[in-house]
């Protein structure tokens, strides 16, 4: 998919102290972050303001306070809308149209001539795997096919920034994998991506960093590992695979860094405080331990765990 590379790699989408009120209810409060030519995950529970944030970014809503800008243009302006593609989370499409017609109709409003719009729509739908079905009515499509049509209308006009609201919804595993690949490749084509998903492990596989929203506020912004490292008071959980787990447990409980040890059939689950000194001690111990320590794996360095720790 050909995409442009003319914008600077930072600050393609910028939220500056953005607050959004719905009557007396604050949906977002003082949110500030920016997204460059990278894949950023937007994480938060239902109803915390993720969709509001997305709609502010594409100009469907306007902030009550603060600024939302796309490449220096206010998000609701035509210049910004030329640069942005949005795949919404709602189901509806023009049911009576074919996938190809729907996408080409949307392209007409981007200045594509009728023939160019048709050709571009067919090319994008083909790339998204909808080639054989693009001339069928949308009402006959499966959930996954409908999702691809929504993606196609977001990508077809060659935007420089794409917002994907729950793009994995309804897709089968193969399609999810294909979509993840597409999302991962977009920054190399000069396209920045902000993607929200409830499937955190899939999100973690494609994002460069995450923005975590909770109760309308920006709770965290950074790489998953950095966010995890920034929680020193939160014990790390490790799984140690070893044959004589019970003996090892009696040693580990005496170490000051160890908060708790749970003996399991084929190993231990250990909660620790200071990571560095624990690992140094464990390495020394492993060299002299009679049974081989087969594996040491962190249990809570993933996005789901970080999310759980942050929002409780």
């Amino acid at each position: 998919m050909s995409m442009a590379r003319s914008l600077p790699a930072t600050g393609m989408l910028a939220f500056e102290h953005v607050t959004k009120w719905y009557g007396p209810v604050a949906a977002l409060t003082d949110v500030t972050f920016s997204v460059g030519c990278e894949v950023v995950g937007l994480v938060g529970k239902n109803g915390v303001g993720k969709s509001t944030l997305m709609k502010l970014a594409v100009g469907l809503l306007q902030p009550s306070q603060g600024k939302v800008q796309v490449a220096g243009h206010a998000a609701h302006t035509r210049q910004a809308r030329t640069l942005v593609g949005f795949c919404p989370d709602f189901e509806t499409l023009y049911e009576d149209l074919t996938g190809a017609t729907f996408v080409s109709w949307m392209l007409r409003f981007h200045g594509f001539s009728p023939s160019a719009a048709r050709a571009r729509a067919q090319a994008v739908l083909d790339q998204l795997g909808l080639g054989p079905h693009m001339h069928r009515a949308i009402r006959e499509y499966s959930k996954g096919m409908r999702q691809r049509v929504r993606l196609a209308q977001a990508l077809a006009h060659e935007p420089q920034f794409v917002l994907l609201d729950e793009p994995m919804t309804g897709l089968d595993p193969v399609a999810r994998s294909q979509l993840s690949e597409i999302i991962r490749n977009l920054p190399s084509l000069g396209v920045g991506v902000l993607v929200s998903s409830h499937v955190l492990h899939e999100l973690a596989a494609v994002v460069d960093r995450v923005v975590l929203v909770h109760q309308g506020r920006l709770l965290a912004d950074g790489k998953v590992a950095e966010l995890r490292a920034s929680m020193p008071t939160q014990p790390h959980r490790l799984r140690i695979v070893v044959a004589d787990a019970r003996n090892l447990a009696t040693v580990l409980v005496g170490w000051p860094e160890v908060h708790s040890v749970v003996v399991q059939t084929d190993g231990l689950e250990v909660a620790i405080g200071g990571e560095g000194s624990f690992y140094a001690q464990l390495t020394r111990l492993a060299a002299t331990w009679p049974q081989p320590i087969e594996a040491v794996a962190p249990l809570d360095d993933d996005l789901a765990s970080v999310f759980g720790y942050l929002v409780g």
Binding site: M3, A4, S6, Y22, K55, V58, G59, L60, L61, Q62, R78, Q79, R81, T82, V84, G85, F86, P88, F90, T92, L93, Y94, D96, L97, W105, M106, R108, F109, H110, G111, F112, Q153, E158, Q160
Partner: protein
């Protein structure tokens, strides 16, 4: 990104009208419209066959064209299709796909109105002609001969009425959450209320029926009895009232300006859904 010429205001209106027309034409409603047109031919033909001596074919055509087609079928068709085109796409959120494009909302809405106007005006003309054809199939009851002129007067007037009702539908769709309820209040409440006001009442200008009725009466030059049948509230006094086309143009203009204002500034996706 390849630089493309931006779709300008008029281009957006035309493209929006084209897409809206094609979308509306795919609805099953058109089978009902087709059936209704044939029904109008049949109604005209059957009534023509049973016509008594007190009424001639032309008077019956005028009465049916006005009271059945002009005050019931055309308004409700235009309002329903207009609400479907604008409010329907706001409710099912398909309009948001258009709001994401680098075009203004005002030309999008005007395109919707244009599409609804064209379709409604076509139905108004076809319905009028269908009724005329049905009644003209019995030429013996037209005591002064069958005159096509009267059909064209009604067809033209009701087509203008359809354009105005389309503007009202677009306004209600953009401004309120239950546009068909408001449309019903407008057609059955406001218009009927003002029909009983004096001819000089300014409120008449905020209706569609009143200028339409004047337009029809100007065109067909009815005798006193027919004028009374079409406009029962008072004696027809054309010298006391303004130009109906100008009144209609004002109504359409003001309604569209208000509709565009609401459509442009409302955050439709922020409002709670019923």
């Amino acid at each position: 990104m390849t630089a493309r010429p931006r779709l300008r205001f008029l281009g957006t209106v035309v493209e929006s009208a084209r897409q809206t027309t094609l979308r509306l034409c795919r609805q099953r409603l058109w089978w009902i419209v087709l059936g209704s047109i044939f029904a109008l031919v049949a109604v005209g033909w059957l009534l023509g066959m049973r016509l008594g001596e007190r009424t001639n074919g032309q008077s019956l055509f005028c009465i049916l064209a006005w009271w059945l087609h002009g005050t019931v079928l055309v308004p409700w068709f235009a309002l329903y299709v207009g609400v479907q085109a604008v409010h329907g796409s706001l409710e099912d959120r398909t309009a948001l796909y258009l709001f994401l494009r680098p075009v203004g909302r005002v030309p999008l809405l005007l395109g919707n109105w244009l599409a609804v106007s064209i379709l409604s005006a076509s139905v108004a003309v076809l319905g009028t002609l269908a009724l005329f054809v049905g009644l003209a199939a019995n030429p013996e009851v037209w005591t002064d001969g069958v005159h096509g002129h009267v059909a064209w007067v009604f067809a033209g007037s009701l087509a203008l009425g359809a354009v105005a009702y389309a503007a009202a539908a677009v306004f209600f769709s953009a401004a309120v959450r239950r546009p068909l309820v408001w449309a019903a209040f407008f057609v059955v409440g406001l218009q009927q209320l003002t029909a009983n006001l004096p001819v000089s009442a300014g409120l008449r200008q905020f209706t569609i029926t009143d200028p339409l009725r004047r337009l029809v009466l100007d065109g067909i030059e009815p005798d006193a009895r027919l004028a009374d049948l079409l406009w029962p509230a008072e004696t027809f006094q054309p010298e006391k009232i303004g130009t109906p086309i100008v009144d209609l143009a004002w109504l359409v203009g003001v309604t569209l300006v208000l509709a565009c204002w609401f459509y442009r500034r409302t955050e439709y996706d922020a409002r709670p859904r019923d």
